[in-house]
Structure formats: C-alpha cells, structure tokens
Symmetry: C2
Subunit: 132 residues, 2 copies
Amino acid sequence: MQMSIYLSCMSTKPPDPAFDEQELLPAIAQDADSGEVLMLAYVSQEALERTTETGLAHYYSRSRDELWQKGETSGNVQHVEEVRVDCDGDALLYLVDQDGGACHTGYESCFYRTLDGDVVADRLFDPDDVYE
Amino acid sequence: MQMSIYLSCMSTKPPDPAFDEQELLPAIAQDADSGEVLMLAYVSQEALERTTETGLAHYYSRSRDELWQKGETSGNVQHVEEVRVDCDGDALLYLVDQDGGACHTGYESCFYRTLDGDVVADRLFDPDDVYE
C-alpha cells in the first residue's frame, strides 16, 4: 500500500504555474534556513523566469506596475534556493537566503505584527539608512 | 540607539487588514511547530472574523464563491494559534496546528512539488479515503 502511494506521488505531473488563468500569482518568500515566512508578493511569468535564470528573487509590483528585483535599492536581495508550486498551480513558494531584512520597514519579516499589534519579529536595519 | 529603535517598534500601529481595498486577501497557513508553509488561500473579512472567533481557520473560496472552514469535509482542521498581518495590511499569516495533511491531494503541504516536478513533501493520507 505504501509503495502504491509512493509510485502515485512520483507520477504526479506538476502543474505549470497558472499564468494562463491569472497574470500575477502570489509568491511567498520563506527563509530556507529558519523557516520564517518573510513576505508575500506577486510574480508575473517574466518575473518567475528572471528569478530562475538569475537565482535572485524577482516580483511584479502591482502599485508601480513593473517588474522588480527584490533588494535592487536596499541591497537586501533574496538568493533563491528552490521554487515550489502549489497543488493547483496558482501560488508559488520561494525558499530563499535573505540578505539583511526582507521588509522595507527594517524588520526581518513583513509579518512582524499580530492582528492585535504585538511586534513579534526583529528589526534589523533602520530604513532611513537604506532608502533615500 | 537600540532603545530608540525598540520604542519605535512598539509604537508602530498595526494596519487594519486592507479589506477596504481588496475584498479578499491572501492568507498563508504555516505550521506553528515545524514552520512548514502548508497552503495559501484567500480570506474575506467574514472569514477572518470566523477564524478569530472560533480558533479554526476559515477561508473564502474564489471558485465556489463561498466561505469555508478548512477541514469541514476532511476533518483536517487548522487550529489557529496566531494571526499576523504584513507591513501594508494586504496579506495575512495564520500560524496553525494542522490536523492531518493540509492538501486535498493527501500531502502535508500544498507546496509539495518543485517547479521541476520533484516531490519534496510527505503524503499523509489517501484522498479517496477522505473525500467522497
């Protein structure tokens, strides 16, 4: 029984990321070592291609309407060790080695607060020192 | 200097989840113990309220256009230990204690495959035994 499940797993064709259905897919960046969830951003097909080609995380900014490389300004780039795709192909997981903090506020993770406002992450840099 | 940064952290008002800008926000479910990213789904304001009221993860299905409680059919519910909100309030992180596997395919995580199709997670149940 175990073997049949195993074989069934290995023959499961991975879905292509569903860019035919959605222009942008959400991508979670997770620290490959600590497991901390660092941020959620969106990727276009081109952003994903640039990510896999360069090994550096690229996203697509919905507000600026442009492709961007994480850390282009701050230097806090993400070295992508692995990209995973979810069961139905409409979300991605980047396992990354994060230089500096992921959040533009200076925190290690963008998810540094609970709903109640408790701060639960470390602040690694002062954004005034990094962004003009 | 350290103290001023600390005080600055604590006075940072958390943003309300940005349901005024987006009806649905992406929510990442992460295993509170192992740190594994289990799934990404979407939440409405009502889904988030039901989650915080009951302690069980609720989401909003875009395909079925309805509120749903994770595990309602399979029994694989998520006990939510903490909800975090990201820096700009447009993504949520559920830290959960997951009963059974999170993925409807039987895997522990929906992110069980790399882009290249390698299976990188454990299969915990046979979906034929769980879903009719």
